[in-house]
């Protein structure tokens, strides 16, 4: 039944994995099915990440050689230098903003996609996915043209035509937010639309017959039931925005520093791999931490709902 599906959707990935393994035949067959993926991730993900974390505890000597052993020097520098603290904060801020703006834009779109005529839904899907088909560098340069400051940018030219502006957009946090929303909106819209599509229309009808206005139906029924989709979408948009480096570098320039471009600089320009690794580790921990916290929040919400039953 759909109600139970929705519940397991929210279940922790581990519990779901365990369930899948049980379902796939006792033990061995299940492991056989996931083995290729596990192996692939071990080689291309776990090993490199492990190496990266280890590199963060080396130190680059002035000679360019690496120190032996284990040092926290990189992390002490990371947390004591203002620039890096600020970059961490900026990264969080921009990622959260992008997530919130995406969610706000995504709901109306997702509602039309899930409830509107099928043809409109398909057209909208293509439209929201389209930005992903363009190379990230091309896309970022295009936004530079649109958002350019002074009288050069398209936005500012348009504003000038109607007697407004100019506004300072390029090299601000908002430039990065706009560029990120543009490309990551689809990863927010599609899970939400899927979640909305799974809601039984009769449940909303029931709410209306019980006296709920359209807004109350959305607030009390539609929105809560779409939370699994919002959770997936938010996780994706937040992670992708936080770890991006091309768009932040081209749209934020030297004025808005995010962790992504800083990692790139340390590795490719400064050649301080240990410090770059430490920055990258911080980024991974940050993104993982926020994601786990948000999943945990939704899990707790659910647990609270289940409590009365036991």
């Amino acid at each position: 039944m759909s109600i139970t599906d929705r519940r397991t959707d929210l279940g922790s990935p581990w519990r779901r994995l365990a369930g899948a393994l049980r379902g796939a035949g006792d033990g061995l067959a299940g492991w056989g099915l996931v083995a290729p993926v596990v192996l692939f991730f071990a080689v291309v993900f776990l090993v490199p990440v492990g190496l990266m974390v280890r590199w963060g505890f080396y130190r680059q000597l002035d000679t360019g050689a690496l120190s032996d052993g284990f040092t926290f020097a990189n992390y002490i520098r990371l947390f004591s230098v203002d620039l890096y603290r600020k970059a961490t904060w900026t990264t969080l801020e921009i990622s959260v903003l992008t997530t919130v703006v995406s969610a706000l834009l995504a709901y109306p779109l997702a509602l039309v996609m899930a409830r509107g005529p099928a043809l409109i839904g398909r057209i909208l899907t293509v439209v929201v996915i389209a930005p992903m088909l363009i190379n990230v560098v091309v896309r970022a340069y295009a936004w530079r043209v649109i958002l350019a400051n002074g009288d050069q940018g398209i936005v500012n030219w348009l504003l000038a035509q109607i007697g407004l502006g100019p506004v300072h957009l390029l090299y601000t946090e908002w430039a990065i937010v706009i560029g990120s929303v543009h490309v990551f909106l689809s990863t927010m819209v599609l899970p939400i639309a899927a979640a909305l599509g799974r809601i039984d229309p009769a449940v909303e009808d029931a709410a209306r017959t019980l006296g709920a206005s359209s807004f109350a139906v959305f607030r009390r029924v539609t929105f809560p039931l779409s939370l699994p989709g919002l959770a997936v979408g938010s996780t994706l948009v937040f992670s992708l925005t936080a770890s991006a480096f091309v768009a932040p570098a081209l749209l934020g320039g030297n004025f808005v520093k995010m962790l992504g471009p800083l990692v790139q600089e340390q590795i490719l320009s400064v050649f301080d791999w240990p410090f770059g690794a430490a920055l990258a580790t911080l980024l991974v921990v940050l993104v993982m931490g926020v994601n786990l916290a948000s999943v945990g929040l939704i899990e707790r919400r659910l647990q609270r709902k289940m409590k009365g039953a036991r």
Binding site: I3, A202, A206, T209, L210, S213, V221
Partner: protein
């Protein structure tokens, strides 16, 4: 003077893509009674109910609830209680939250909400389960929660949309009886949509048989079963044998009809000699005598047994007339003596009391 019906429809029409799903429906549901809309799927019965609830806007016609015109009132201000086919409980709210929803929407004070929720759940004997989530309940329990949720707001009328369709047979019958008792106790005017004729007959004060967006016949369960006015109703409610033929003789207000394959039946009809008629004949009206004990006269025919199907309470006997036309008889299984001789191929005499011959209107071709 009789009070106005609690639910009134006048000339209600709804078309989808040029097809009239509801084609001019008018009826009223008297205060405190249950009226069932019965018909095959696609007959428009669900659309009629959704228009009363306000979930569908009629193209034409008027709807009134408790004497107030509501045709242009949005659904959330109509104060109807509706029970949905799959209960449509809020999966993210526990039982108490589901029942409280309508009260919260009406801005009822918190303390009153808690009390009314408990009262409503007690009404359906579920007050112990207020903390459960819907998916932890059985189908019958979900149905009761849905009923409590619909009733707690003290709706003007109760709408039941195929309410028992998803329950298994035993539970369905139990819930039907329980719902009927509850409805009587509360005296709430109720409209039910169903495709299950037995359900409609069991629960309703009146049954409206719908077909092709129109009401074919509206009458009490007894009247609709005993005196169907059309061949469709006669065939849809229960089963009927149909004899089609011509009036050959008139005598006072009675006439003798001879069917196209030569069966003579007496009917109460004002039709003139030569006129064509259709007579519906319930299978349970037909008595069977083993051949040889033959009487003579109308309302009997010599047949051969085609098939005998034992159904527990009854036995269905499928007969063939001389010309090959079928005739079905249903006998209750207590007259074992006669049933013993009923084997396929046996010749039997079928006869029936003439008051069971029922003239019905033929479908417009």
């Amino acid at each position: 003077m009789m009070a106005r019906p609690d639910i009134e429809l006048g000339g209600v029409v709804k078309a989808y893509h040029g097809h009239r799903a509801v084609d001019g429906v008018s009826f009223g549901v008297e205060r405190g009674t249950i009226l069932s809309l019965l018909g095959p799927s696609g007959c428009g019965k669900t659309t009629v109910m959704r228009m009363i609830a306000g979930l569908v806007r009629p193209d034409a016609g008027e709807i009134a609830i408790k004497g107030q015109p509501v045709t242009r009132v949005p659904v959330h201000r109509r104060n109807v209680g509706m029970l949905f086919q799959n209960y449509a409980l809020f999966p993210h709210l526990d039982v108490g939250g589901n029942v409280a929803f309508g009260l919260e929407m009406r801005g009822v004070a918190k303390a009153d909400v808690a009390r009314k929720v408990i009262d409503a759940l007690a009404l359906v004997k579920l007050d112990k389960l207020a903390g459960r989530m819907p998916h932890q309940l059985s189908g019958g329990q979900q149905q009761r929660v849905a009923l409590a949720r619909a009733l707690v707001v003290e709706p003007s009328v109760l709408l039941l949309d195929e309410p028992f369709g998803a329950l298994d047979k035993q539970l369905r019958e139990a819930m039907q009886v329980e719902t009927r008792l509850l409805q009587r106790r509360l005296g709430i005017t109720t409209l039910m949509v169903t495709h299950d004729q037995e359900e409609a007959l069991t629960l309703s004060d009146e049954v409206a048989v719908m077909r092709g967006g129109r009401i074919e016949q509206l009458a009490s369960p007894t009247a609709i079963y005993q005196s169907p006015t059309s061949a469709f109703v006669a065939g849809f409610i229960g089963t009927s044998n149909f004899l089609r033929g011509r009036i050959v003789l008139r005598q006072g207000d009675r006439a003798l009809m001879e069917s196209d394959d030569g069966i003579r039946v007496t009917v109460a009809s004002a039709a003139a000699v030569g006129e064509r008629l259709t007579v519906a004949l319930r299978p349970e009206a037909i008595r069977l005598d083993l051949a040889g004990t033959t009487g003579s006269g109308p309302n009997r025919v010599a047949t051969t047994i085609d098939q005998v199907i034992y159904r527990g309470l009854t036995t269905h006997v499928y007969l063939k007339r001389a010309g090959g036309e079928p005739l079905t008889a249903i006998r209750q299984n207590d007259d074992g003596a006669i049933l013993a001789g009923l084997v396929p191929g046996a010749a039997v005499e079928a006869w029936w009391p003439d008051e069971r011959n029922h003239v019905v209107a033929e479908d417009p071709a």
